[in-house]
């Protein structure tokens, strides 16, 4: 198979922080979060879940695909 951009399926409770800590452990959490957000604008630009939701403030959905590396050149 040709190489494609690396991605993951988030778990139900995942946040930017938990994914950065797990998948980008060689970076600081802040840097990891910033990278994740810039690689996943389709999620970052989404309005977060409303305040009354159990996922309040978190835009990541369990069905999302999240990239853990920048676009391939």
């Amino acid at each position: 198979m040709n190489t494609v951009r690396k991605s993951i399926f988030p778990s139900a409770q995942d946040t930017w922080e938990s994914i950065a800590a797990r998948e980008l452990s060689s970076s600081s959490t802040e840097e990891g979060i910033a990278n994740l957000q810039s690689w996943n604008l389709h999620v970052f630009a989404r309005p977060p879940a409303p305040a009354e939701s159990p996922r309040a403030g978190n835009p990541i959905l369990p069905s999302d695909i999240l990239f853990i590396e920048p676009p391939l050149v």
């Binding site: 040709n2 494609v4 991605s7 389709h42 309005p47 959905l61 369990p62 069905s63 695909i65 676009p71």
Partner: protein, 555 residues
């Protein structure tokens, strides 16, 4: 013999060259293809015409329309004899009474089906999938291969929690049991969505499912040899490729067919669609069954400001005004100096789009002079800019000014043609019965022949027929349809190869509750036979025959 079609140019759906011959039909089945000596009770002279299997449309949203129109008009007059509703995680069953209005809201948001159509066109006399099937079977002219929607399964099992969280193990098992019940009742597969939003602009329930839940449901599909349909993040190429990989893994694991729709040609990035197709080929050669659906027509969107339009979905202020407003509040927003300033500011960086919009319809005599002109031309005549003209005309017309954004993409004929012909592509994604206030979703089959067979020579007529008949039937495991073959169900379309086409798009009031929609008439389709009976003729229109069946796929 009940019916004999004579002297036709037979294109049997296999892709083999056409030949002259007759077709004999008895008891709803094809009994002979070739030279027929017997006389039929009814005889059709097809000399000079193509006789082909009925076309199959694999991506529709006729769910609601089937409750008041068992012919799914105007699908049949475009040669379509079988439709697949229930795509994109949305079906009308199974559905508890408490959730009806929630689903109506989702259909309104996603498919633009007006609330009043449900109020005045639907008698809610079902809950289970089987009851829904029984309900629509009462008056069915067209064949229906219904998908069951993932969002609906979640709603049934989890109630409002389906819109907030992942399922527990117990809830997943309940969904599996419910899916099995739907498949046993005639569902051809499961649909899910990774992109759609509900009427409150929150994700639809299927988007709160994790990969494990989808996997569990696909295990049930595997036990029944049924298909999974997804609508994916088609606007992003990398995500599309990742979804292709996800579907390939599911397909191999559960030995099921999967399909994703739509796949568009982006005129600014041909490499994107090439990469997606290359990935499909790679995965399918590695044992997966992943079928991207490609539509034939270019993207055109029409709108008024009286209903929310897809065109404004990324302009949050505009979309909120349209989505949550009444005609009065929308007019007020356009009239209020401050709000208008805010709207203009948000949309002003898309001036090129507004300038290209064409004013297609107004109701006042004063503005008829502008119909057919683009907004840049009208703006020049009025001494303003296109964005303000759009607002002004909408106010002057009480929001009944209709604008057309034509050729927004997927309109490079060479590229689209090569994609449609590709052996790993399914022709589909018409969205028939959906987006009824944005564009006509009818006539893609005629457009395939007129544009990609006759004009652009992207494929032969035999290839085109195969693509929308036996190929589709094979992919969806629809038994005994898609070929003109002895023993097969007699779904037949007779058309003029030189004339078949889609007609111009027009606005018509034929939706319950005095609702409107955009439609297209067909050209060149002479006779459509469903289940052995003539359902439509160009001369006489629709007949009273009701031979449509529920086509549930083969196990």
């Amino acid at each position: 013999m009940d019916l004999v079609i004579r002297n036709g140019n037979i294109i049997d759906g296999s892709g083999l060259p056409s030949y002259l011959g007759d077709i004999a039909i008895n008891d709803g089945r094809i009994v002979k293809v070739g030279n027929v000596a017997d006389t039929g009770t009814t005889e059709i002279d097809a000399q000079g015409k193509v006789v082909s299997p009925g076309f199959i449309d694999p991506h529709t949203h006729f769910d609601a329309q089937l409750l008041w129109d068992g012919a799914a008009k105007p699908a049949i007059e475009h040669g379509v004899t079988t439709i697949v509703p229930g795509n994109c995680s949305l079906s009308l069953a199974p559905l508890k009474a408490d959730h009806r209005m929630k689903l109506v809201g989702m259909f309104n948001q996603i498919e633009e089906m007006p609330f009043k159509a449900f109020e005045e066109g639907v008698v809610w006399d079902w809950e289970s999938f089987e009851e829904f099937i029984t309900r629509i079977k009462k008056d069915l002219t067209i064949n229906v291969a219904p998908l069951v929607g993932h969002s609906v399964l979640r709603l049934w099992v989890m109630g409002n929690e389906s819109m907030h969280r992942t399922a527990t193990e117990q809830e997943t098992q309940a969904m599996q049991a419910l899916l099995k019940e739907c498949l046993d009742a005639g569902a051809i597969g499961l649909s899910t969505s990774f992109v759609d939003m509900d009427e409150t602009l929150q994700p639809v329930p299927s988007r709160y499912a994790d990969a494990a839940e989808l996997d569990a449901l696909c295990a049930v599909l595997g036990q029944h040899n049924r298909i999974l349909q997804v609508v994916h993040e088609f606007y992003d190429n990398d995500i599309t490729v990742a979804r292709i990989d996800q579907l390939a893994d599911i397909s191999r694991k559960h030995k099921i067919t999967t399909t994703l729709s739509p796949l568009f040609v982006n005129n600014d990035n041909f490499a994107g669609v090439d990469q997606a197709i290359a990935r499909v080929v790679e995965q399918n050669e590695a044992g997966a069954r992943v079928w991207p659906q490609v539509q034939t027509r270019p993207i055109d969107i029409s709108f008024t400001f009286s209903v929310p339009s897809l065109l404004f979905i990324r302009l949050r202020t505009w979309y909120a005004v349209m989505r949550f407003g009444t005609p009065e509040t929308i007019m007020a927003a356009f009239s209020d100096e401050e709000q208008r300033k805010q709207l203009v500011a948000e949309a002003s960086n898309m001036m090129g789009l507004w300038q290209r919009l064409i004013l297609r319809q107004v109701k006042t005599e004063a503005n008829q002079q502008y119909v057919g002109k683009n907004l840049a031309e009208i703006a020049e005549l009025r001494g303003t800019d296109a964005l303000n003209v759009m607002i002004d005309l909408s106010l002057e017309e009480d929001l009944d000014a209709h604008f057309l954004s034509a050729d927004m993409g997927h309109n490079n004929d060479d590229k689209v043609g090569s994609l449609l012909r590709h052996p790993h592509v399914m022709i589909g994604a018409s969205d028939g019965g959906a987006h009824i206030l944005s564009f006509s979703t009818y006539g893609d089959t005629g457009y395939l022949f007129s544009r990609f067979v006759r004009e652009n020579h992207s494929m032969s007529i035999e290839e085109a027929v195969k693509k929308i008949t036996s190929d589709t039937a094979d992919i969806w495991a629809i038994p005994q349809r898609g070929l003109l073959k002895s023993g097969y169900v007699a779904d037949v379309t007779i058309f003029d190869a030189d004339l078949i086409d889609r007609g111009p798009e027009y606005y018509v009031q034929d939706v319950p509750g005095d609702g409107h929609r955009y439609v297209r008439d067909s050209a060149g389709v002479e006779t459509v036979i469903i289940g052995g009976a003539v359902a439509y003729t160009q001369q006489g229109g629709y007949t009273d025959e009701r031979r449509g069946e529920i086509v549930g796929g083969r196990a």
